[in-house]
Subunit: 588 residues, 2 copies
């Protein structure tokens, strides 16, 4: 079973949904046109398809291996990672002045999707390195940038995020790892970190750990955390590698999925660390890295869903079983002919294309927000990030589960491969902040804090798309009408939540995840609707008929099958908080 | 992590939701009162909790082992199965005249739930034996009953269903295993069967395979199938065991879940088989077994969901993390205090209690239909079976997934145990007929065939419950109002489907699974509503306040959070068929 990167749809999203006119007009991206992006993605897609995708199943079977403090990766991963470095793919979105290719974020998201669809375990290493690069770019000193950025952007070194401790998961205020200032300005880091993705491995010559820790006199809670660079091997003044740091891998986890990615317990024993920025501001710096990683985890959701979809589609085309329900044939047909198999495939496809569309849109907004410092766009971008993470990760689990279902009994057999996506996808709504954490972020920071301003801007933009759809043909109008109903449900929920935020905060947060799923589903429907407008225009001009017809079909399916969920979520928010808060959980 | 069988709720369902007044009035069950059932379930619950539940995790790790044609089970399973036989639990629902205990089906469902919650892999063996017993009771000759029933009901022998072949999954008409009549009246059975649960194992001294095969002159398709008894070891005239039959286990599957239950490929090489009933009627006989098994698979869904829920609840009580969202405390609290964790727990609980309620109702209806030969009740019972299978199995996957989510990162670690339920549950919407097969059965056989009569009877009974709820307090009225909206959605969808069944059968079947989920969710809400009426009565009388308060709370949560999905499913049915049927799946 091969994986074929959906480059055409990825480029469609970049060109039509990522605010490309504005993004490409910025100085920082003026040297790249769509043809450059397309050429880069085509080249990267070949690497993903030919070199990475074959690692997926064997890597799952072999897993990362731990022996006496050392973690060894499957040999295929080691070989292919070396090629990844040689071809320089880690550099895709990073600044040219530090050795990067300087592509915009929407192109980067396309790259993340292709690599992670090819092999999510493999893709996790560059994903975390990207986050470390982003954090260093924004918060590192010039000397730190000079030391670490070039080898990270080259992929020769990898990066990690060290947040979690046994007592500190979602609640980072409970981090207790200690950082003691030394006379030379460095810090001695001591403590135990768990769930460290790629915390130990043999793909790169060095690993740069970014570690949250607490100085002795720091205040308690989240405002006493500082962020440190702790290289696995210390770096000499000339950039060469020095002694091994005192960071030890104690064990790796036995996991449900992404088994070829090592999840390490790391023990820091007075390890040498270097402060980033100033003391006690570590959480804010870490959020830079975390936001980048959250966005990318959403994209991983699209990725694993796409792989599950391609596998299910191939099976549905090849598996002949049962006569058609309409009785028009006495012969059994390929199961793709059966209405319910089509329903499942279209549900998968529309959730994937919807997720891809909001990822592209958000990537564009993040670029515009980052480089233009436009407060409205910044707010909208920030509003969208938890939607990308929350919606795409939750939907990935659903899509992977449908992928198993389409295979029938074969789906439950590990050798088929469908089950691996179901196992792999399950981490996505958990790591880099659970869905509830995303929802709290959305409701608390992105909605309540500005009194719903960004959320209303979001709704207003959707209303504009509705107006355009209303001018179109019957299909466009149907999509527009479904979008209107969903958007009104969103606004109704929004008003209720803002009202409750003033006098009944528990009731508001009882609806946080329903609100996240409402907003995410609406955002996907909106961007699919925008895509349908483009497709209608192309179809009128006779351009790309097969592809554009299916873009429209997907948007219509999503409007008819998925957007109605928005009203259900609204009902849950408006009428479901009392039963939720009042219930008790007595012993049996 | 232990499992505590929810005997109180199981008894509540039997007493109040399984039509107990009518069931207990039947001669066949007149010797058992509720106290007998309660005593039996209490005793069985201790066995499940103490002997079976500890096997669950270790069995998953060890798995069934295949070596040179022999399958060996984990030693704990062998030891505990022997106790199961000694205590005679296989006999629970089977007729007294064949050595059974003669309890009604609702008690049997409670037993199936407890055993499968304790260990679904373990529970599968008795589940299939139950199906074989049921098929023999209804279709076997007196001689066959005399030979096979007693040891099966004692649990000394186990039963299997042999339907699937590589080319014949959902489409049994494609079965090609051959049955050649011999001079002595027996048949020589030759062919390969796959996905045979407990097709080979070392728990019992004999295995009775019920095998679908085709005689040489049989018509093609499903009307040419005959059903055969093929004992793994032949049985002498005096009931002692004779020679090994020529049925060989070629391999067992490497599966996503239920790993301690062997799934065998069986090769029949002119094996000796005995015809059940008459030739070419095999599929009808097999449906007897399949219907029993389908109902039980629905109950397995409740079971694995309950186990996942208990694990998540225990974790949510013990895990302290983050301050309350309302800011009323500076200290971190157990995560069960956080609104979204409560939401997930209540969603799990309400789906479980809703599923349990419809299983009890359906069990009662099946008993009434079976023994009283009432056509209206028979039709309603038949209408409910695909709901129990479809709704409870699909919801089990969802509940198990929420169970992982509540554990956060720990949920992804296999040692925690939550992931096992997520893996185990995934087979439920697939085996014994996928969800689409259940939906086709519901729409084609249970709705279209009688012009919607049974479906309207179902709706009318729900309307009666609504009327009773409208007489109650505010909570009852809220439940009733949500039920009305859901029931109207059901009737609207029903009318549309019946209309389409006359002129656009593809459009009707495009909505088959949405209709199944609509009806299943409605049925659960209905039975939870009936339970709430009972609970309100008890609360007024000051009886069992803690338990009855939570029965009401669960029903209210379901009404507010789950019943609104019915309208979404209706929208999918009415407005979603064109996009589904028209879409195409071009190459990338």
């Amino acid at each position: 079973m091969s994986y074929i990167p959906p480059v055409k749809d990825l480029m469609f999203c970049i060109e039509h949904l990522s605010f490309w006119d504005q993004v490409s007009a910025m100085n920082v991206y003026s040297s790249h046109d769509l043809e450059d992006i397309s050429a880069a993605l085509e080249s990267y897609s070949r690497f993903c398809q030919e070199q990475v995708a074959p690692l997926n199943h064997i890597g799952d079977a072999l897993g990362a291996q731990f022996d006496n403090g050392q973690v060894s990766m499957p040999t295929g991963d080691v070989r292919t990672y070396a090629q990844f470095v040689e071809m320089g793919w880690q550099a895709l979105v990073h600044p040219v002045e530090h050795g990067g290719m300087g592509f915009p974020r929407a192109a980067g998201a396309a790259g993340v999707e292709m690599l992670n669809a090819a092999d999510m375990s493999f893709g996790l290493c560059p994903l975390l390195t990207d986050g470390a690069i982003e954090a260093l770019l924004l918060t590192g000193s010039d000397a730190q940038k000079a030391t670490y950025l070039e080898p990270l952007i080259a992929g020769r070194w990898s990066g990690t995020m060290n947040l979690t401790e046994p007592q500190a998961g979602s609640d980072l205020g409970r981090v207790s790892t200690k950082a003691t200032r030394r006379e030379d300005g460095s810090y001695g880091i001591s403590g135990t970190k768990i769930f460290i993705t790629y915390g130990a491995h043999d793909l790169t010559e060095n690993i740069i750990h970014l570690v949250l820790a607490r100085t002795p006199d720091a205040p308690a809670g989240p405002k006493g955390l500082s962020l440190f660079i702790v290289p696995q091997r210390l770096v000499n003044a000339d950039g060469t590698l020095g002694a091994e740091n005192t960071v030890n891998c104690v064990s790796i986890e036995h996991k449900l999925g992404v088994r070829a990615s090592p999840t390490a317990v790391l023990e820091y024993k007075d390890a040498t660390g270097f402060l980033i920025g100033t003391e006690n501001h570590g959480l804010a710096y870490m959020f830079v890295m975390m936001n980048a990683a959250r966005f990318s985890v959403g994209v991983q959701g699209i990725a694993t869903a796409e792989r599950a979809y391609q596998r299910a589609l191939a099976y549905a085309r090849g598996r002949v079983q049962s006569r058609p329900v309409n009785g028009f044939s006495k012969d059994a047909v390929a199961i793709i002919e059966h209405p319910d198999v089509r329903r499942m495939l279209l549900r998968m496809r529309s959730l994937i294309e919807g997720g891809r569309a909001i990822a592209a849109a958000t990537a564009g907004l993040l670029d515009l927000a980052h480089h233009q410092e436009d407060p409205e766009l910044s707010a909208l971008a920030e509003f969208m990030v938890p939607l990308v993470k929350g919606f795409c990760s939750e939907r990935a689990v659903e899509v992977a589960s449908l992928g198993v279902q389409i295979h029938g009994g074969m789906g439950f057999i590990e050798e088929t491969g469908a089950a691996q996506h179901y196992r792999d996808a399950r981490i996505l709504p958990i790591y880099e902040g659970t869905t509830a954490i995303q929802a709290n972020d959305l409701l608390g920071r992105k909605v309540m804090r500005d009194g719903g301003k960004a959320a209303r801007d979001f709704a207003a933009r959707i209303a504009e798309t509705e107006a355009e759809l209303a001018e179109g043909d019957e299909t466009s109008q149907a999509i527009g009408a479904a979008l209107t109903e969903a958007r009104v449900a969103f606004e109704t929920a929004l008003n209720w939540l803002l009202d409750k935020s003033r006098n009944d905060i528990d009731a508001a947060f009882a609806g946080s995840v329903p609100f996240l799923m409402l907003a995410g589903t609406l955002a996907a429907g909106w961007n699919l609707g925008k895509g349908a407008l483009v497709a209608q225009k192309c179809l009128k001009a006779g351009q790309d008929t097969v592809f554009m017809t299916q873009k429209t079909a997907t948007a219509l399916f999503f409007a008819q099958h998925m957007l109605p969920e928005c009203r259900t979520e609204m009902t849950r928010i408006l009428h479901g908080s009392d039963s939720l808060l009042d219930a008790d959980f007595p012993e049996y």
